[in-house]
């Protein structure tokens, strides 16, 4: 049992990484990864929603008629998103401002509805909780990598720490919109390459 729980937890990091392997929930990955801080903030917000919705969905999974399950899941998810939205507006106003409309948009993040439908609706509360944490951290991990690459290339700094010195001429395009697409494309390509080498 504990072995399978550990697998449930770690699968989200590499093997079933929601962003790099399953390619879901891409809008925030591209939009908020201009700095590592924003990326990690977004990752934790999404993780909280994912864990909360996974737990509630698995608790009520037997009480929901199959035909109306999707609207029910969406209401559960939207409630958690509202909680996150208000908490972040109160305690981390700066982060809330820079993430902007992507906080309410966590509702339509396919990862969260995807896990509710594919995992939490069929598994126990404990396993769903672990799955939520694992997948959420995998998502955060993907956001952090993408954000770190873009921030280092685009500004020469990371988390306000000057990394590449003053002689480095920042490639501004990396923190603009096109940089997001190209960075993520190359990172997914890299993950594919690693997978092929292994397999």
């Amino acid at each position: 049992m504990s072995v399978s729980l550990t697998r449930e937890f770690t699968k989200g990091f590499i093997r079933e990484n929601p962003v790099f392997r399953i390619v879901l929930g891409l809008c925030p990955v591209l939009a908020v990864t201009t700095s590592l801080k924003n990326g990690i903030g977004m990752g934790f917000a999404a993780t909280f929603v994912l864990v909360g919705s996974n737990v509630i969905v698995s608790l009520v999974r037997k009480g929901i008629p199959a035909r109306i399950r999707i609207p029910c899941y969406i209401v559960v998810i939207a409630s958690f998103v509202t909680v996150v939205d208000l908490v972040m507006a109160g305690y981390t106003p700066e982060l809330h401002k820079s993430l902007g409309i992507f906080i309410p948009l966590i509702v339509v993040n396919c990862i969260i509805l995807g896990r509710a439908e594919a995992f939490a609706s069929k598994n126990t509360v404990g396993r769903s909780f672990i799955d939520g944490i694992g997948m959420g951290l995998g998502f955060t991990f993907a956001l952090a990598i993408t954000a770190a690459v873009r921030e280092i290339i685009g500004t020469g700094k990371i988390w306000d720490l000057v990394l590449l010195g003053t002689r480095y001429n920042p490639v501004l395009i990396a923190v603009l919109a096109p940089g997001a697409f190209i960075t993520l494309g190359l990172l997914i390509g890299l993950f594919n390459l690693l997978e092929r080498k292994e397999g």
Binding site: L26, T82, L176, F181, I182, G185
Partner: protein, 195 residues
């Protein structure tokens, strides 16, 4: 009526802040439905329609239901439910009135509920405190911008199918790199208006 402002909103949503290439909204259908030109066009028209309708309806809900009762914090829940219902309703109406249109759009309509561009346009309308006409123009042009990006992408991807792409980059990765290059091209429009 200030036509200049409406025009600026339209150009802004279509070219300068293109929903897909600049605001990163609606990427799932952008990647999922851009493999064939016909499907991309069908999806594009469905999105234009739903976005315009959703802009109108959410404007009404926010200003005449949520705001008077001081429950604006329920915005996210209210909007997503409204959009989901609206999509269902549109689907039923099209099925009854125009079976041929239904056959071409039918499979894309349910997908639109989870298209973040639709919820995104509703939230953006509220945050920019647009009036009703501006909301409608913004919703419609955002849909047009989405369709342009989707159709251009589908055209390019049909060609990429024939190209010799390194094996690890096939499929999604190369689509992202192409989107990045398109996004660079769209950056050129940013000088069009001083917003």
């Amino acid at each position: 009526m200030d036509w200049g402002r409406l025009f600026a909103i339209a150009i802004g949503a279509i070219l300068i802040n293109n929903f897909v290439l600049n605001r990163f909204l609606g990427l799932c259908p952008f990647l999922g439905v851009s493999k064939q030109l016909d499907a991309a066009l069908g999806m594009g028209f469905a999105v234009i329609f739903v976005m315009t309708m959703a802009s109108m309806v959410t404007f009404g809900i926010y200003n005449y239901v949520l705001a008077p009762f001081g429950i604006e914090f329920l915005r996210t829940i209210a909007f997503i439910l409204v959009i989901a219902t609206l999509v269902q309703f549109v689907e039923m109406v099209i099925e009854k009135t125009s079976p041929s249109l239904y056959r071409s759009l039918g499979i894309y309509l349910p997908l639109i509920t989870t298209n973040c561009a639709v919820l995104g346009v509703a939230v953006l309308n509220i945050e920019s405190s647009y009036g009703f006409i501006e909301t409608v123009v913004h919703g419609f042009s955002a849909g047009i911008g989405f369709t342009i990006a989707l159709v251009l992408m589908a055209g390019i991807r049909e060609r990429i199918e024939l190209a010799d792409v390194p094996e690890s980059l096939r499929g999604v990765p190369v689509a992202f790199i192409v989107a990045g290059l398109m996004s660079i091209a769209f950056l050129g429009f940013s000088g069009l208006a001083a917003e």
